[in-house]
């Protein structure tokens, strides 16, 4: 089975800190995603990457950046954490098959980030 690993399950940071959330997948998937999960809002896409060093903004990219230096690793960066970025962050990956992305996402188990 595909394994998507997020480095931290819980994280507490101070306002203004630079925060790195790390995600690693072990199945050579081309696509990787960062979602944010909030009660009543479901999952919202922050950024995604379809190849090494390639990235695209999702629906809510403000206040975030990403890095994908290696195919298996996709990092989410909060340049200056704010309290409204307190949330659950989910990383996911998917395989490209033929001319179209498979669209079945494999998820990590999430990082609950609290910004105080």
């Amino acid at each position: 089975d595909v394994k998507v690993t997020q480095s931290s399950r819980y994280l507490v940071k101070r306002t203004g800190e630079k925060v790195f959330l790390e995600c690693v997948q072990d199945m050579d998937h081309e696509n990787m995603f960062w979602y944010r999960q909030d009660p009543g809002l479901g999952l919202r896409l922050i950024y995604f990457s379809y190849d090494v060093k390639m990235k695209e903004k999702g629906d809510i990219p403000e206040g975030y950046s990403v890095s994908r230096e290696k195919k298996e690793r996709f990092s989410l960066i909060l340049e200056s954490a704010s309290t409204n970025q307190t949330s659950m962050y989910l990383c996911a990956s998917s395989l490209v098959q033929g001319a179209r992305a498979n669209e079945k996402l494999f998820f990590g188990s999430g990082t609950q980030l609290s910004v105080l």
Binding site: G40, L41, G42, L45, F48, M88, L90, N102, L105
Partner: protein, 114 residues
């Protein structure tokens, strides 16, 4: 923005009974995919079932089945013979844009009572 709507924030059902979770979506595409994901308290998202829009036949996976109404843009999940392990948050999602991006609904918390 193209949206996915789950109108039931919470549902409950007795063990062994049947429950249906609702989902409607918006899309301008003709070929797309629909998904139901389950998120138990462990937080690990698990794919429950998947439907391809060009297929008329409703998808089934053991106790899980869908009612896909393409014209109405409706995609409900039916869970038969509910089990305690079905207690979870359920998300409906739509794919079909490039790179495999999914758009998720707000989620429905399902509680199965003994």
């Amino acid at each position: 923005a193209q949206t996915v709507t789950q109108s039931q924030p919470e549902m409950s059902v007795q063990e062994a009974e049947t429950v249906t979770l609702s989902c409607t979506y918006d899309t301008s595409e003709n070929n797309y995919y629909l998904f139901w994901y389950k998120q138990p308290p462990s937080r690990q998202m698990i794919l429950v079932i998947r439907q391809e829009a060009y297929k008329q036949q409703n998808a089934t996976e053991n106790r899980f089945s869908v009612n896909f109404q393409k014209a109405a843009k409706s995609f409900s999940l039916k869970i038969s013979d509910s089990q305690l392990g079905d207690t979870a948050m359920y998300f409906c999602a739509r794919g079909g844009t490039s790179y495999g991006k999914l758009t998720f609904g707000q989620g429905t918390i399902l509680t199965v009572h003994p």
